[in-house]
Structures are given as C-alpha cells and as structure tokens.
Amino acid sequence: MSERKLYGLTALFQTPDEIVHAAKKVQDSGYKKYDVHTPYPVHGMDAAMKLKPSNLGYVTLIFGLSGAAFALLFMYWAMSKDYPMIIGGKPFFALPAFIPITFEITVLLATLATVIGMLTFYFKFPNNSQPLHDTPYMKAVSSDKYGICIEADDELFDLEKVKHLFKELNGQNVSDIYFPVTEPFKIFEPKFLILLAVVGMLTSGATYVTLNKLLYITPFTWLMDQDKVAAQSRSVFYADGFGMRKPVDGTVARGFIPYEYKGLAAPVVPLSNPLLPTAQILQLGRKRFLTFCSPCHGNFGDGDSRLRGQFPNPPSLHSEKVRGWQDGNIYHVIVNGQNVMPSYSSQLSRDDRWAVIHYIRALQKAKNASPSEILEAKKETPSNAAK
C-alpha cells in the first residue's frame, strides 16, 4: 500500500447553532486552515468565520462586461459591416434586437467564468481529488449534519489539542482523514491507454455508421426523395393540371406599373412622355428600336422589313397619321399591338417604351426636316464639331 498522510481532523455537529458557535470558537483559537461543511448556506457563518467578501465577484464582473462588449461588437461587425442584411425593415445596427443576445452572452460568459474561477481558485483545478471525498464525514455533511475540518497543514495543528477542542465543543464522530501521497491513477499506464484507444474507435465508428448509414434507412426521407412537381410539368394535385401556380388576380410585379388603358382603342386621357430627350435616353431608345422594332419597321422606320416577306410589312412610321399622333398613341400601340403587330409590353419596360418614342420622334424629325433646319444643324457648332 502506498504511503498515507494525515489531511486533517473532522467533527460533526447536530444543529446550525452549534456549528456557528463551533466555527466561532475555532476561528478565535487562531486556526487559519479549516473549513466548515453544511448541507445548505447557514446564516451568520460569514461573520463567525470572519470571511472577507469573495473576490470571485470581480471575475464575474470582468467576464460579464467583456461578454456584453464582445456580443455587441460582434453583432455590429457581422450585421452592419461584414454581411449587412435588411431584416424586417430595421436598421443594420438594430440595437433593441441585439439586446437579448447581448444579455445572454453576458450571462453565459459571467456564469462560466464564475464556475471555472471557483474551480481554479478554490479547488486548484485541474486537480480533481480532495481527501474529504468519499468519506463518511462528507456523506453526513451533505445530508443532515454540520461538520468542521481542521487541516494538518495549519501552523497551530496538534492532534491532541484539536481533539480536546472538538470534545469541548461537543463535536461528535471526531475522525482523522488520511490521503495517499502518490497519485492513485497513472495516466500513461498501458491498460488505460488501450481502453482510451478502444473507446475512441468505438465512438468514431458509431458516429460514422449513424451519420452515413443509419440516417439513410427508409423512414428518413431526404429532400431529393420527397414528392414534388418539377417546373413546367403536369400536376396531378391541382384540379387545373398546372404544376406552376398563377399569381393572384391583380398581382403587380415589383418595379412594374400596369398600363391602365390596355385593350381599349386609344388612351382615354392623353399621355405625355415622362422622359426628357437627353442623349442618354435617345441612345437607349435607339438600341431598343434596333433590337425590337427594326426587324419589321426597318432601321429608319420606313416599313422596309428585313424579313423578306415572311411577315407582312407594316406601314411607314413617317406617314402623316403617325406623325400627327400624340406620344400616348404610340405608347398605346407598343403596349396593345395593332393589326398583326403583337404587344411588346413584356419585351420593353415602361422607360424603354418612352425612350423608343423619343427615338421615333427623332427619326421623323430627321426625315422631314426643312432645309433651314438642316443648314442650322450642319453649322460648325462646338457640339457638332465633337461628332
């Protein structure tokens, strides 16, 4: 058997009053290394043992404050710097929404720090053995008795004197506690290492089987196995047989303004072009005209189709009729279509249409300009020279 050393002397008491009295006497006798064990906190014990307020509170405070600061800074960085996201229309740094998380991180860090601090400062973590563990004394004081233990390390410790003191105080079950000097468990023993390896293999094997095999057995369905309707395919679920659902009547796409005179012969109220004929707008109109209108209307709106008779040629855009039209009428034709011309409302956005109208007006102006106007345009003006 390994060498054993005396840890201390313990005594049990029956009532809280006795233990407070005993603690006071032991304190007054000058002992420093002693401790009291009770099943619950006993009022008056701090004063009897002359305990100073614990310093653990400062650990809690520091970690609590750093938890609050960390949580707030992290959320500030994540939600408004690194990956800003609009949530519920709230600002990126939405303080009220962050408060509960800040509170929880504060509490989490403070409590963890308190527990780890307590283990470190009072139980000398990572040491996990205490000579009083597994003694009849500890069993008694953790159920219904009140105990006091004077350690042998104390300067004043003398076996006979302490026994006498306990007897004087009417302590019962006075017993001496021994502990082995050498460590009972050796961490590098082959037996322990083999056990560790076996446990490790079993754990990782079980994890592998669970994650890769067990989870794919029949009752667990995964997304790819679930019933679904592919886009554009027939549905047996809906009565109309469409796999894709139509939007509710009156649904308007974002950024889209519906045309209110669609289907009528002409706009009821004359529409005016909301865009100014700037160079940028004319460029846009030209681009859209050449893409969507010119195949039939021709590059200059003369009605000379590139389609070589595959489709009837439209009349010229330079007729008196079209030139006499208001902008709104052209808009109306683009949206509604006319004769064989289909609606272009899905190809051209609202701004595109108005830009195209500006471009058509420019074409009409170019084709029907008076000589004086041509002379005016040909003059060496700074803007013409740049061209």
């Binding site: 008056g44 701090d46 307020p53 405070l61 519920g88 229309g89 929404a97 509960p100």
Partner: protein, 396 residues
C-alpha cells in the same frame, strides 16, 4: 440572549416631523391647486400622477407584508411596521380618488359618450370601458385592498398585546389568499388608471410593468423610512445593517425585473412595428419626451443597477438612502412618462413644471403625517411577533 433586550419602549415621532409634514402638505397643495389656474386639464393629470404614486407605494407595501408572511421571512419581522404604516394610506385612497371620479370626463377619452359613438374601437371596448363600471371597479379594488390591510394589521397589532402565535398563522393564510387577488387587482388598476388613458392602445404586459415599478418604489420608500428611523434611534437597537441587505437585494432584483419587463414591452412592439401599437411609443418620442424616454433607462435601470450591484452596497445605509430617494424620483418620472404624454406633446413650459411637483410634495408631506399619527398610536416594532427574536438575531 438576555430577555430584557426584547422590551421595547414605544416611541412617538418628534413634533417637528408633524410640523414638516403639514408645511410640505400645505406648500404642495397650494402649488398643485395653483396649477388649475393655468391649465386645469394638466393639473388633473398631475393629480392623477400623485394618486398613482401614493397608490403604488401603499399597495406595494401591503404586498411586501404578505410576502414576509408567506415566505416565512425572519429578517423583515423587526421592520414590518414600516410597510404597515405605508399601507395605512390605502383607506385614504377612497378620499383621494373622489376628485378624479368627479372629473372622469376631462381625464379619460373613453368616458365621453360623443367620442365613443363616433369611434368603432371605443364602442367595441365600451362594455368594459364605461364610466359606471369604472367607478364600480375602482371602489371594489380599493375596497379589497383596504379589507386585506385591515385584516393584516388588526392581527399584527393584536399580537403586540396578546402575543398569540396563531395570529401569525392566520396572516400566513391571509397572504396566500391576498397574493393572487393582488395580482388581479393591480393589473386591473394599471389597465384602468394608466393604460386606458390611451384607450386605443393595448399591451398585455402592462399590468406587470406597473407592478414591477410600484413594488420597487414601495421597497425604496420602506428602505428610506427604515434608514431614517434607525439613524434617529426609533427602531430596535439590535437592528444591524445586515437587516438592510435583503431590502437592497430586493430593490436590485426588482430594478432588473422592471427593466426586463419594460424592455420586453418595447422590443415586441418595436419589432412587430404595428401602427396601432407603436403609436404609444411615438407619442413618447420627439421634443422633451425623447430625453425623458432615454433618461428613464438611466434613472430607472442603469444608475440603480450600478449602485446596487456589489454586495457591500446592499448593506451600506448611506448608499441605500441615496438610491432609495433616487428610485422614488425615478418612479415618479416613470409615471410622468406613462401619464403626461396623453395631455401634452409639446415641450412643457418652465412655469408649469413648477406646478407639476406640487402634488408630489404634498404626497411626501402626507406620508410624513401618516407616519407621525401611526407612530402615536402603534409600536414601531411588532413586539409580540414570535419571529421577532430570530429576526433580530438575523445575520448574513
């Protein structure tokens, strides 16, 4: 322990207290009533604020008494007379409420029949929010509180003479009945007197919010009274600072509780962003209300939290005295924040702020007089209570 320790000489509070009480009452009433000359409606709201202030401290004290009995607390037995004295103003509420009931139409929008008739929501709420049912509820609520006050205090005072331990048992049973009744009545009072000032608005947490604020105010008032009386030697000589610890701890707890509830109420409304709910907070933002709303966070949470955080602070009479006065002021500010936006949204003129303090000053004077006249008739220490000896020996 020597038995003669328990013999306690009944002490009267000094005449100067009575004089101060009457002076404060006089000045306060004069100021408050002068307010009616300038802005009668606003003066009524100030009077309502003071009424709620007195009510919250009185009823919170009654709850503290019930709490002591039902928890079997010993530390608070030597000081139980202080909340009892505060609670003795509950029957006075019957008198104080009369001016409010007589002018119900100038305070509560829902009591005006022509307003309700043109308003779908108020018409829907009118089975509950109507003048006659309101008066019945008010009288019933104050009546229930008064009944419990008389029962508690009668047993407690009888014990001074008879030393009958069964009276404590009776009061324990009484508090078990009182606490759920208190929960309901205080919620109703909060809804009736405060929430219905903005009759379209609703918040299910409002009752708890009012309870949290009023209990912490009652604790502050009790703590302040205890420290002042102890300094002058009117309480039992064996009382120590450790008796104050639990009062400090309870204040700290309920300051946190108030902040928790207040923030929950705000965050849910802010998050959902429904117009019918946010309107209440919008009325408390802009102009001086922005500063009062933000100031409330500091006054009613951050400052008391920081001051009461450490363990020694909860036992230090000086610090507790300071923070008790602070919390009482913060409670008044809280009530101001709850009530006043309903009557004026613009910045308040300096002149009218002077009048706003009038009734509160009168309330302080009134409480001094309540203490003076109570102490004249009754012991400041419950000498017959079986828990008194243990309570005096209480140590942390």
């Amino acid at each position: 322990m020597p038995q003669n320790d328990l013999i306690y000489q009944k002490k009267n509070l000094p005449e100067s207290l009575k004089r101060l009480g009457f002076i404060l009452l006089g000045i306060g009433l004069a100021l408050g009533l002068a307010g009616f000359l300038f802005d009668a409606q606003r003066a009524f709201f100030n009077y309502l604020l003071t009424f709620i202030f007195i009510m919250s401290i009185a009823v919170g004290s009654l709850f503290l008494i019930a709490l002591e009995y039902i928890a079997g607390a010993e530390w608070s037995t030597p000081i139980r007379r202080i909340p009892e004295f505060f609670a003795s103003s509950i029957p006075l509420l019957f008198v104080l409420v009369i001016p409010l009931l007589l002018n119900i139409h100038s305070i509560f929008e829902w009591s005006q029949k022509n307003v309700v008739a043109g308003d779908k929501i108020l018409t829907g709420k009118s089975p509950y929010l109507n003048a006659s049912f309101f008066v019945i509820r008010t009288i019933l609520t104050i009546g229930i509180w008064s009944l419990f006050y008389f029962l508690f205090v009668r047993n407690s005072r009888k014990q001074d003479v008879t030393k009958d331990q069964l009276l404590t048992k009776k009061n324990i049973k009484l508090s078990a009945i009182f606490i759920p009744v208190f929960a309901i009545t205080v919620t109703l009072a909060a809804i009736d007197w405060l929430m219905s000032l903005a009759p379209h608005w609703f918040s299910t947490i409002f009752g708890i919010y009012f309870f949290a604020g009023s209990f912490v105010a009652a604790l502050a008032a009790v703590t302040l009274a205890i420290i002042l009386l102890k300094e002058k030697g009117y309480l039992h000589p064996r009382m120590t600072n450790e008796h104050l610890f639990s009062l400090g701890a309870l204040q700290f707890t309920f300051i946190n509780f108030w902040a928790y509830i207040a923030f929950s109420q705000f965050m849910l409304i802010w998050y959902a962003n429904l117009p019918e709910e946010t309107v209440w907070f919008i009325a408390r933002w802009g102009g001086m209300w922005t500063y009062i709303s933000l100031g409330l966070i500091f006054a009613h949470f951050l400052v008391p939290y920081a001051v009461l955080l450490s363990q020694p602070a909860k036992m230090d009479p000086k610090r507790l005295k300071f923070i008790s006065i602070w919390i009482l002021a913060a409670h008044a500010l809280d009530l101001y924040w709850l009530i006043m936006p309903q009557v004026h949204t613009a910045n308040a003129g300096i002149l009218s702020i002077v009048f706003e303090f009038g009734f509160l000053i009168a309330a302080v004077g009134g409480f001094l007089l309540v203490f003076y006249f109570n102490a004249k008739k009754h012991n400041l220490v419950p000498v017959g209570d079986p828990k008194l000896e243990k309570g005096l020996n209480f140590r942390l």
